[in-house]
């Protein structure tokens, strides 16, 4: 194991007296150096290479939640069934469209929104919750972000049977659009991860963030075309304008519109492109600068 010791001296020296980092490789190689910065990308790669801890802890979080119940895993599927068919038929009636059309629109939007929502909200408290591990020297914070992502993605997959059903009864599913949607899903996950990193750091430093995020999401949900059609809020109206500032609007549009064959503005692609670049840059910067301070904040 010590053969792959990765000493990153020299190339990353910050200042003459300061030494560059060797990320959390002590457990793998036994040679490490403490320094002033941690790198998001290196940590992420290490986390993905060693998934045991975060995957297991995410899995335990999920199974433990249903262990006391009789119906167990059935409760994993229930929320999506209730939401897509229950809420779906109510709003389909409200908009005067058929459930066969509206269920797919709602399902795709709601499932993706839920992933982004739950990761962002959870991550504000995830580092505080992992205090004991962090104090024990487990400083690869990406592990904890991936833990909450793994949970959300799992719930996303649990909602897939109902989503698939909604797509089956939808008359105009675009086969090519499914491929585009898959790519868009990847972009959504990248953005979810960067949001998770940013909000986990922010939440560790400012405990108030958790409440702020919770409240902001209530409004953002209504400003995202999940239970309504973008066409109902044209960009010219004030509400339409506000909703188009909302990043979730575009993240959902690029995923859903290609699959359902709905019209999508070029603006959405631009918006998401810029958002991704800015998000990755911001997360990298904040992680590099503040990750080392997290144990002190907690």
């Amino acid at each position: 194991m010590p053969s792959e010791a990765r000493t990153k001296d020299g190339e990353r020296t910050v200042a003459p007296s300061l030494i560059s980092e060797i990320s959390d490789i002590k457990k793998d190689t036994g040679l490490w150096q403490l320094s002033h910065q941690r790198r998001l990308f290196t940590d992420l790669i290490d986390s993905l290479r060693n998934p045991e801890f975060w995957a297991l802890s995410a899995w335990l979080d999920i199974v433990v939640a249903y262990r006391r119940s009789r119906l167990g895993a059935l409760w994993l599927i229930m929320p999506s069934a209730v939401y897509i068919w229950g809420v779906g038929s109510v709003f389909a009636g409200l908009w005067g469209v058929s459930v066969t059309h509206f269920a797919a629109h709602l399902a795709l939007g709601w499932t993706v929104f839920t992933v982004m929502h739950s990761v962002t909200v959870q991550s504000t408290g995830v580092l505080f919750g992992a205090r004991s591990f962090i104090m024990d020297g487990r400083m690869r914070l990406t592990d904890f972000v991936l833990r909450s992502m793994a949970k959300s993605v799992f719930h996303f997959l649990m909602a897939m049977p109902m989503t698939a059903l909604a797509l089956v009864i939808y008359p105009h599913v675009q086969p090519l659009g499914l491929l585009v949607g898959l790519g868009a899903l990847l972009i959504v996950l990248v953005n979810t991860f960067t949001a998770g990193v940013v909000f986990s750091l922010a939440g560790a430093r400012f405990p108030d963030i958790q409440e702020v995020v919770n409240n902001v999401f209530r409004v953002l949900f209504l400003l995202t075309p999940i239970i309504w059609y973008p066409a109902k809020m044209p960009a010219s109206s004030l509400r339409g304008e506000a909703s188009r500032l909302n990043p979730f609007y575009h993240l959902i549009e690029i995923f859903r519109a290609p699959i359902l064959g709905e019209p999508i503005g070029v603006l959405s692609w631009y918006y998401v492109g810029i958002l991704t670049v800015v998000g990755v840059a911001l997360a990298t910067f904040l992680y590099r600068r503040y990750a080392r301070l997290v144990p002190i904040w907690l």
């Binding site: 007296s17 793998d28 802890s57 262990r67 591990f133 024990d136 144990p295």
Partner: protein, 384 residues
């Protein structure tokens, strides 16, 4: 592989948050204060410019009072705190036994928790699977493997945590106090296991207040006070130095940071009593020592009314009480000192006297602490 820890100019400064001092007249003000009083931020230096090297085979004792920075240093060494300046180079896999009952998931089973804690320690799943039975047997809970963790007693949870944390032998072992948990049977087992791990480790760092334990285990010692490294060297002189520091703080009546800027020698001592032998001559009784080994202080002087009088005669004697109570190293630290003080007709004339000690007559400049009894005698003598 050569295992080592090297710190160069290692410092750690952290922001702390202070709540504003406020006088609350009734409970409403307390509630409002808690709601709307944002804490203020201030930087505090926890570790300052530490330099040391710990090599293979070293068993290092961390000595220092509560709040001196021992636990903070251990957290830096295990990678939790990143130094704000300087560098730290650690060669070797580290296992910290600092807090072992944390990081469990109460509603998961014992088996799942062993995997959770194990992977958090960086162990591979095959390794954990292989050692699962050993861990359960060690914690004395093999029959509980499929029960949820919260059904275990706190003693059982502690045993499980200990069993997992010590299930692997690493190169470097960090210990905050020697751990002894559980009932008598388990204690014996835990002692043996810990002894085993200590022997198997290439470097051990142990923070403790028990001098006997540190003598048994460690060969080196480090004295930390107010985040600064005062002494690093072999264990006996380190313990001696630490006890001197404690005695010095007691004798100087201050718990503030010690000033060693003029080198490591600091003189300290205590004056018990004063006797007026004849008018113009007094004799003081007390003890005096220095923080430098084999260099007992030689000089005494009295400052009275801005004039310094050097002792005309000093005789030493054995003071076991100073050694026992205050940890003074030199058993011959007691003194009787005679001073010629023309103009002193009664003890009351000593009002405002300062007794100064030092390594030599030229350097007799450290005030010794005076006993309450002596102070009272001088004061009441004047009144009477």
């Amino acid at each position: 592989m050569e295992v080592s820890i090297k710190a160069e100019h290692l410092s750690l400064a952290v922001p702390t948050y202070l709540q504003r001092e406020r006088v609350s007249k009734h409970w409403g003000a307390v509630v409002l204060g808690a709601m709307f009083d944002p804490p203020r931020r201030r930087a505090v230096t926890l570790l300052e410019d530490l330099n040391f090297t710990i090599g293979t085979g070293d068993r290092m004792a961390l000595l220092g009072q509560n709040g001196a920075g021992k636990s903070t240093l251990l957290k830096v060494l295990n990678g939790a705190y990143t130094p704000t300046a300087g560098r730290l180079l650690v060669r070797g896999r580290t296992q910290a036994l600092l807090n072992m009952s944390l990081g469990f998931n109460g509603h998961a089973t014992v088996r799942e928790n062993i995997f959770l804690r194990g992977t958090a320690m960086g162990l591979s799943t095959p390794y954990i699977r292989q050692h699962l039975d050993d861990i359960l047997a060690f914690a004395d809970i093999p029959e509980k493997v499929n029960q949820r963790l919260y059904t275990l007693s706190s003693g059982q949870q502690m045993r499980l945590g200990f069993a997992i944390s010590t299930s692997i032998q690493q190169d470097i072992l960090l210990l905050d106090e020697w751990l002894g948990t559980g009932d008598a049977n388990f204690k014996v087992k835990a002692q043996e296991r810990l002894q085993d791990r200590v022997e198997g480790s290439k470097i051990v760092i142990l923070a403790s207040h028990q001098a006997g334990l540190l003598r048994d285990i460690c060969n080196k010692g480090m004295v930390i006070d107010h985040g600064r490294l005062l002494y690093v060297g072999d264990i006996e002189p380190a313990i001696a130095f630490y006890q001197d520091v404690l005695a010095l703080q007691w004798a100087s009546g201050s718990t503030g940071a010690l000033d060693f800027s003029d080198g490591m020698a600091r003189v300290y001592g205590y004056v018990d009593d004063a006797v007026l032998e004849v008018p113009g001559r007094i004799r003081l009784k007390g003890w005096m020592a220095s923080t430098r080994e084999h260099e007992p202080p030689q000089a005494l002087a009295v400052r009275l009314n801005d004039k310094v009088h050097v002792a005309s005669k000093i005789s030493r004697y054995k003071r076991d009480d100073a050694a026992k109570r205050f940890g003074v190293q030199d058993p011959e630290c007691g003194f009787y000192a005679t001073f010629e003080l023309p103009g002193v007709k009664a003890l009351a004339d000593l009002e405002g006297m300062q007794v100064l000690g030092g390594l030599s007559d030229q350097a007799a400049d450290t005030a010794l602490r005076q006993s309450d009894r002596l102070v009272m005698t001088i004061r009441t003598g004047r009144e009477g």
